[in-house]
Symmetry: C2
């Protein structure tokens, strides 16, 4: 029996691959990892398509019930569905390692992720530096990594992709506007001339689906409403003329 | 009518998404970009699944016949299929821009690409630096960018993914072994202590399909046969202990 890790893509139930769908249909237990991303369809739409019941799993469950999931995969085929592609989060790598340790066979069916999905913006994927994320602040936790990574990438003329935090269970999603405010605040604090109201950025929402993409200064993007999640923010580095042409379409 | 850009994934005909398949089935003309990557199935397998004839397009054709493709999309639905995801190559961005200029509607259906596919290796996708590629040498062309990028990424403790050149029409594919030899040669020339026979690397083949992944020193990887294309080479930067555990499985 096999533990299948299956990416289900970025938007809705029809983004699963044929291979993914065939596999889900033959599985006895189907888990959906539902804390690192979200879809633009209901879980019922997935269940209708698969003809199967889905067990949604948050981080806690994946960590605590990993052994149970793995034991099930010893007896029956089990699907572990991930929105986007499979290995965005270390929890999934960890689940795979624990399964392999217990000699449970694993198989992998890939799909699109935001990392290649942003190709649509028109910046060369080869010219992105390190990807970073902006987590929600909380008392005693004021992340600055995204500012540091932006500074580093900028030094090398590279583009920066910032993924924005989400808590689907609380219906809480960071917006492009939140991300820009966070960067402006860090600039006021650290004063390393990394980001200002005049920095040109690309705000993105719902990549892989009904996307909205806007290229403007931070100040002007702040006035935009990007609508439904998920959002991400791109700060271009040095631009090749083909890239300039490409992103001009979003001005 | 619409010009659809459709990623068809990394391995075979069943890696297309349901949305992708539904769309291809309703298109009048179907182009397959067949020079930046390759599949592990025959074009006839795609045609059988789609119930349609496929026109394979090399770089030259995409560039020269772009206007023709765009004009067709004014009258009929046209699919432009890309192995992996859509926007790995600037030619595709260019085709999209030319279509939009001519007011031809474009739509996009994403899929897995090697960029997220390498997640399976177990290194965090957030900790890769700039991606680079190694092109074939030719008289008067001795690329060194991959060495320079590796040096830069290493300085920041980041992982480096090197994509390897291919010429499917000549049945010519760069191997992990070729890539390592190229790096050793550049080290001998530039002596910047970026790479040696003792550098630990991860050699990968056929990610997204029947993969082979090996983690060893450059010297030991040179003795390995990775088999069928496509290959790529990863040189890890600083390792988190979870990453160390993860890649140990490929030793």
């Amino acid at each position: 029996m096999t533990l299948y890790f299956i990416g289900i893509g970025l938007n809705d139930e029809k983004d699963i691959t044929l291979k993914g769908l065939e596999t889900v249909k033959k599985c006895e237990y189907i888990y959906l990892e539902y804390y690192t991303s979200m879809l633009h369809c209901d879980i019922a739409d997935l269940e209708d398509l698969y003809g199967k019941k889905i067990i949604t799993a948050d981080r806690d469950m994946v960590e605590k019930r990993a052994d149970e999931i793995i034991d099930q995969a010893r007896e029956e085929d089990v699907a572990f569905l991930v929105i986007g592609d499979i290995f965005g989060a270390t929890t999934h790598t960890d689940l795979m390692l624990r399964a392999k340790e217990k000699d449970v066979h694993c198989a992998f069916i890939h799909n699109a992720s935001i990392i290649n999905g942003v190709g649509i913006v028109g910046l060369e994927l080869y010219k992105y530096g390190r990807i970073t994320s902006i987590p929600f602040q909380s008392p005693g936790f004021s992340p600055e990594t995204h500012y540091t990574v932006l500074k580093e990438n900028k030094t090398h003329g590279l583009h920066t992709l910032m993924l924005l935090d989400l808590r689907p269970h609380e219906d809480k999603f960071m917006t492009v506007n939140d991300a820009i405010k966070s960067l402006l605040e860090l600039e006021r604090k650290r004063k390393e001339q990394v980001f200002s109201e005049d920095t040109w950025c690309i705000g993105c929402a719902r990549i892989g689906g009904d996307h909205k993409i806007k290229y403007a200064t931070a100040k002007n993007l702040l006035a935009q409403d990007f609508g439904e999640p998920l959002h991400c923010l791109i700060i271009p580095g040095e631009l090749h003329f083909v890239e300039e042409d490409a992103i001009a379409q979003w001005k």
